[in-house]
């Protein structure tokens, strides 16, 4: 059967999006593939469709529990029952059952930690897989923005002889990161599909302020005058609450979103945002993954992101429907200090190394550092990996280099802030590509008129749902009110 016919049969789409078909064809030929597709371009389909063509399980290594859950949910929505997630959410009993029956599944999602476990490895060795997918493959690179030491071992585990093809997926990656992915995964002359990182329908702009407070005033004025839906990114939980509170008081429909919100709240916010009853989300970078909203018109950065990859990913949530959208970067004198702080916040330093060594001397497991509040989990993961590889002094060097790298990344972002040249060109070049064409209303430097891109806000009476609780129960259970 033609690939297009299979696509329609299993997913109901009539055509592929750019890159999908090329990637899938290479996988079907048995080749390793490295695909860089921007967020929202249908990365997952590149392994989902082969899953139906091959009659053997697809193994998907995924670094984030939330991401994994989202992908499992998505497949279940397409009525796929043979899908499972092997991660730390499972208790010992559930895990045993899942591992035993592993060969029955079509799609097996697994966290890198789980992949290293003996019983899982043993089971996988008895099975024939059709494809190994390494999602968010940039996590393998210590130069990437999201280094996961566990990822380094994937290459060892999946072996070299007789293995099925590997598909490494990522949204954006610099040349350096691409090199690391190919090396560590021991990919065999992979086919590379690299989609342009440029999104011509996202218009880039920036505004400078003397005072941080002025940014908040600007946001309040801007959001009362122009139309969303939009996302406002800021760097602390407290700020998401503070800004959204002010917007609510100004009669706007807004909500705060961050990692500290309970799971129901997060879902309510996403549901409201998608159905249009919520116009603005004020979020930390915890927001975005698994949100499939097509018509986001504005993404505003209240504070500058800590690196270009984050910036790219966050503005990439605008205009997925292909229509015009705007990305607005706000900057006030001194913002880079905070971005630097955030950038290196989770990175272990010399003090942590010392504490780590002390635990060793006392014969106490260093992982206790996490529970004793001496280090974050992410920080420990990085530290522990290197302490097992290198001498204490070498680790100090490695960490110092990582720190410099992170600080350098903030400088890269600052170049976009300070430049008087084309923002788009600079952004695209950062990812090792060339900009082919500047769209109309390209960016602050090339000239941009916001009025041509976003609409003035329609005055709507907000007034929350005044429905009685009895009516609401009826609406939920019987519908049509």
């Amino acid at each position: 059967m033609q690939l297009e016919a299979l696509l329609e049969k299993y997913f109901g789409y009539t055509s592929f999006r750019p890159g999908q078909k090329e990637v899938i064809e290479q996988i079907l030929m048995g080749n390793d593939v490295l695909a860089l597709l921007p967020t929202g371009m249908g990365k997952s389909l590149c392994y989902q469709l082969p899953g139906y063509i091959f009659n053997k399980p697809v193994l998907i290594i995924s670094p984030l529990l939330s991401l994994m859950q989202d992908q499992v949910d998505q497949l279940k929505q397409f009525k796929e029952k043979r899908v499972v997630a092997l991660n730390s959410f499972l208790n010992a009993h559930q895990k045993r059952n899942v591992v035993q029956a592993l060969h029955h599944y079509r799609f097996i999602f697994i966290s890198p930690e789980m992949l290293m476990q003996q019983q899982v490895l043993q089971k996988l060795n008895t099975m024939e897989l059709s494809l190994i997918v390494v999602d968010e493959a940039h996590c393998i690179s210590q130069w990437g923005f999201d280094f996961r030491p566990d990822y380094l071992r994937i290459g060892e585990v999946v072996g070299n002889d007789n293995r099925p093809p590997i598909l490494a997926l990522s949204a954006t990656a610099t040349d350096k990161v691409v090199g690391d992915i190919k090396d560590y995964l021991k990919m065999k002359e992979p086919f590379e599909y690299i989609h342009s990182v440029d999104r011509p329908n996202i218009h880039l702009t920036k505004f400078m302020f003397y005072d941080r407070e002025d940014k908040i005033d600007w946001i309040l004025r801007h959001t009362t005058e122009t139309e969303g839906p939009g996302i406002i990114y800021t760097q602390s939980r407290t700020k998401t609450e503070m800004i959204s509170e002010k917007m609510l008081q100004a009669g706007l429909s807004a909500a705060a979103y961050h990692g500290g919100k309970d799971t129901l709240d997060r879902q309510f916010i996403q549901q409201q945002f998608i159905n249009g009853s919520l116009e603005w989300i004020v979020a930390t970078n915890a927001f975005g993954m698994g949100v499939h909203k097509q018509n986001v018109r504005q993404v505003i950065h209240e504070s500058i992101p800590s690196n270009m990859a984050n910036y790219m990913q966050e503005i990439g949530r605008a205009g997925r429907d292909g229509k015009d959208a705007v990305a607005i970067l706000l900057y006030a004198e001194g913002d880079e200090d905070f971005a630097r702080f955030i950038g290196i916040d989770e990175l272990p330093n010399e003090v942590h190394i010392e504490i780590y060594d002390n635990y060793k001397v006392r014969n106490e497991p260093p992982s206790n550092m996490i529970n004793n509040g001496e280090i974050s989990e992410t920080g420990f993961r990085v530290l522990n990996y290197w302490m097992n590889q290198l001498s204490t002094n070498e680790v100090k060097n490695v960490l110092q280099n990582m720190k410099n790298e992170k600080l350098q990344e903030v400088n890269e972002v600052m170049r976009i802030v300070k430049t008087s040249q084309c923002m788009r060109k600079m952004l695209v070049q950062y990812f090792g590509q060339n900009l082919e064409k500047n769209p109309d209303n390209c960016c602050s430097a090339c000239g941009i008129s916001l009025q041509e891109i976003i609409n003035p806000r329609q005055q709507v009476e907000l007034g929350h749902d005044e429905m009685s609780w009895q009516k609401r129960i009826e609406k939920l259970l019987i519908g049509n009110l």
């Binding site: 559930q94 309510f268 609780w469 129960i473 259970l477 519908g479």
Partner: protein
Amino acid sequence: MIFQQILMQIFHKLNQERTISAPFHLLRGKRSGQTIQDVGIYQLHHFFGILPKLSRKKYDEEISLLIEKQFIRTDEAGSYELMNNHIEDIGNLPFDGWHYRGNEHVFFARLSLIIQSLSHKKAGQMSFIPIQKDEVIQQWVKNFLLINNFQEGTIHEQLMAEMIHSLENTHIEEKVKSIIINRLAGYEVAGFTWQQLSFIEKVSEMDIQLLYIAGLHSWLNSITSQAEQYPLLNNVAQNVRINIPLTGSAFQSTQLFLQGYSIEQISKIRGLKISTIEDHIVELAMNEPHFSIEQFISGRDVQLVLNAIEDYNTKKLKVLHEVLPHLTYFQLRLVLARGDL
């Protein structure tokens, strides 16, 4: 504000005889001998375990506010003193922590997934992303829906009738009923976040959550006390209410005791210290209203203890023991455990 008022109510009941941390352990439902006994001694059943996830940071913040507003004063040893400033009393919110201990969230999780499923079923949309991620909850709800033949579509009306009727017969404010129902979601109906509810009701998010928990306790009590009237809801509330709230080990000891073994014998059988078994008996006395403490202490002595508590205005064991040296700590604790003094 409600949270601070609750803290003040607890501080009052503790009569300045416990540390500043005692309410923290009580609210989190710490299952240590001390906390459990304090529940009985100071009659704090309804507040026990209403906030199992309360963080120390949040707690300390609220305590600082109470100090700042001069409702309490603390010293370095960790004790506290009530000041003369009186906080406006909210009266009693209908908490029943002792019997639910966080399980009300299990009830609500099941209910919200049932509602979400039925709502989508009604709209003919059987594929949706479940709002509850916990596999145990998902499995439970699947069974519930199958057993109740949800495909036939009659369960919708019945559940609606049960929910409306039982809530109408629950004595809580209308706005609390709205808060609870607004946390449900369904087909093209999104739930309200805590931030939104807090904005609508003009109280803090913490207070909204406290109103919600008290509301759930009260609603659950109406449902379980009229089980035959609300068969579906009572099923959703299955194993949510804790009727013999004894810890595992205490449960074993008291089972032996009720079979006629003496404290010494139980201590030998279980290989535990006498004092531990006594702790268990105290816990039993506290939880089982029909358990007679007179097998350990005479009615006259009980009266003496009660008098001493009143005369010296204290429930401190050490003081009581000094006043009544002929009674053991065990006997004193039994009297205190009865609580209804």
